[in-house]
């Protein structure tokens, strides 16, 4: 979703046929009306400042405070500890740091599985629905349902499916003769995979939607020309579809990465608040560490570290994809 072209296009002389270029520039500029764009932007700016920028600054500041349950209504008077909270959080021998590190690696694995799973499934669906056939519209609608479903109804239904004794999954596996005794899906190591399945179920329609939109933008002539040259569907996928989708994929992967890494609803609802270690994703972990003990200082320190990690990963990713993008 390369929504905003990164290069701020300069003033462009009247080229009305290329709207992308011509829209920018001093439309109503000059003659003392410079304030107009700022007036239009002001409400958005004010809201962004209140709900995004102030909290970030406050979050960083709070990571230096020792806020406990006794100060919650007067947290601004909490004692300053400097980098003390970071010391506790990053002490991987201590209980706090150890469980944070564990949760971080669980989240990494979860993100890798869900991201690749959702992309592959979404891509397969987009390819399968690429050409017209009877019932295509119906299937496309059906495939968008998991995306439209509110998170908690989707996840709570999966929670029921994964119930040990009265859930659908164990019943199905039993009927197929794949299991002898009912395993737990929401406790122990299986919890990780249960969580991944739910997240993929919720995420893949988004990949499907974006990839489908990207494929529609590829002109049909390209395929026609290549099939005259004797290219089959598999070769067309390799030579045309995937390369032409690369700019779409670049943004799609980043958006899905951030979304999956920050996923809160899936573990929170699937495990009813307290996730087993194998499924303890970082968002819920920070939430629990903060609100279960009211230790907002530690929670803020963890949040700041999480933000740094995501910023570094995103920056590296963008730098890397931009470079490879120029070469091709």
């Amino acid at each position: 979703m390369a929504v905003i072209s990164p290069s701020g296009t300069r003033e462009s002389p009247g080229t009305p046929d290329t709207p992308k270029q011509s829209v920018r520039g001093g439309r109503f500029r000059g003659r003392g009306r410079r304030w107009i764009p700022y007036a239009f932007l002001l409400p958005a700016l004010a809201l962004e400042v209140i709900v995004h920028f102030v909290p970030i600054v406050l979050g960083v500041a709070m990571s230096g405070l020792r806020v406990t349950q006794y100060q919650i209504s007067h947290w601004w008077e909490a004692p300053f500890t400097g980098l003390g909270n970071f010391g506790i959080v990053l002490d991987f021998d201590g209980p706090t740091g150890k469980s944070l590190a564990q949760s971080f690696f669980v989240t990494l694995g979860f993100t890798a599985v869900v991201l690749s799973g959702a992309w592959i499934v979404g891509m397969a669906a987009a390819l399968a629905l690429q050409r017209a056939f009877r019932g295509r519209g119906l299937l496309r609608t059906l495939f968008l349902v998991p995306y439209a479903l509110p998170a908690y109804t989707a996840v709570i239904t999966w929670r029921f499916i994964f119930q040990r004794d009265n859930g659908m999954l164990n019943h199905l596996l039993g009927q197929l003769g794949l299991i002898d005794s009912n395993p737990f899906w929401l406790i122990g190591h299986n919890a990780f995979w249960a969580e991944c399945v739910v997240a993929i179920w919720r995420m893949w329609p988004f990949a499907f939607l974006i990839l489908m939109a990207g494929m529609q933008a590829i002109p049909g002539e390209v395929y026609e020309a290549s099939s005259i040259d004797g290219a089959g569907p598999w070769r067309q996928l390799q030579m045309i579809t995937l390369p032409l989708l690369s700019s779409v994929n670049k943004v799609l992967v980043l958006v899905m990465f951030l979304h999956t890494f920050n996923d809160f609803s899936t573990p929170y609802i699937l495990f009813g608040g307290s996730a087993p270690p194998a499924g303890d994703l970082i968002s819920v972990h920070i939430y629990q560490s903060s609100f279960a003990t009211w230790n907002f200082g530690l929670g803020s320190a963890m949040s700041v570290l999480l933000l740094l990690f995501l910023a570094v990963v995103s920056a590296c990713y963008l730098a890397f994809t931009r470079r490879t993008g120029h070469e091709s």
Binding site: M1, A2, V3, T9, P16, P19, K20, V23, R24, R27, F40, L41, P43, A44, E48, V51, H52, V54, P55, L58, G59, M62, I72, S73, W75, A124, A125, A128, L139, L142, L144, V145, A148, L149, P150, A151, Y152, T153, T157, F160, I161, M168, H171, A213, A217, Y223, P233, L258, S265, Y268, I269, G272, S283, Y287, F291, G299, S300, S303, V304, L307
Partner: protein, 280 residues
């Protein structure tokens, strides 16, 4: 267009069958279980209700104050959608039509906030609301207002992001013509740009509404018994002693139906919105 090869047909058949089953299984469980009695749903899983009943669809309204949650969710989601899209339309118009000092940094900042984890904002916002309530006399913690303010800016970055791209596709000739007719920027925006960009605006509305309707994290912290939204309220069907799975599933269906129906009715707009605004 070339003809489908047998290999592609087979791939299509297998993929679509598997995916349909994957998508439909939870939806089927939801429906079938909502029609079961409590003993039926608590015992070993069965594919069909032993004695189908719609009793759970009646009980859901009494077990928890579902209607209240519905109203709360509706008020919060509609307010957040209307306000965020309104604010975003103005901001996006400025960003799409003008190049001015600070526009680039604003766009980057908006994009950057998209990537921040919700949990990062939650703790400071909660404490900020506590502070404001105690020192400024506001009423934000545990109220719908607090939630609306939060959700507003959730969907705002995405809305700005999408709408700038969408407005860019509206030809500048139209602005030019409006200017010749003597229209100022405000009239140009409302009479020319907004009508021309309706699919994009509808898409953004759908997205904003769905985000607010389904949000869990902020709703769990920033609401109390009075202002609880569906996202949190649905958890009340699980008590220490009992989980009323038939009612949970019935309530899930009732809660999902309006959004899914609305989404599917408007999906055409969403897909055009994505195509024009997002995939360029």
């Amino acid at each position: 267009m070339n003809h489908d090869t047998p290999g592609y047909r087979a791939f299509r058949y297998v993929t679509l069958t598997l995916l349909s089953v994957f998508v439909l299984a939870p939806l089927y469980v939801m429906l079938a279980s909502s029609l079961k009695t409590l003993p039926d749903v608590q015992g070993e899983f069965t594919w069909f209700p032993s004695s189908p009943t719609i009793q759970s669809f009646i009980d859901i309204w009494h077990t928890v104050p579902l209607a209240q949650y519905f109203v709360n969710s509706l008020i919060v989601a509609v307010s957040a959608t209307v306000l965020s899209v309104l604010v975003a339309v103005f901001a996006s118009y400025a960003l799409s039509r003008w190049k001015f000092p600070g526009s680039g940094s604003f766009k980057s900042a908006v994009l950057a906030t998209q990537m921040f984890p919700g949990i990062l904002f939650l703790l400071p916002l909660y404490l900020l609301f506590v502070y404001a309530d105690q020192n400024l006399g506001t009423d934000l913690v545990g109220t719908r207002t607090g939630l609306v303010v939060t959700y507003l800016t959730f969907s705002l970055p995405f809305a700005v992001w999408m709408l700038v791209g969408y407005f860019d596709t509206v030809p500048r000739d139209l602005d030019e013509a409006a200017k010749v007719d003597g229209a100022g920027p405000l009239r140009t925006l409302l009479q020319i740009i907004v009508p021309a960009a309706t699919p994009g605006i509808v898409a953004v509305c759908i997205y904003a509404f769905m985000t607010a309707w389904g949000e869990v994290l902020f709703a769990s912290v920033l609401t109390d018994t009075q202002s609880r939204t569906l996202a949190v309220g649905l958890q009340a069907y699980s008590t220490e002693a009992n989980v009323y799975w038939n009612q949970v599933m019935a309530a899930s269906l009732v809660v999902s139906l309006p959004v899914v129906a609305g989404f599917l009715l408007l999906q055409r707009f969403l897909i055009t919105g994505f195509t024009a605004g997002a995939v360029k």
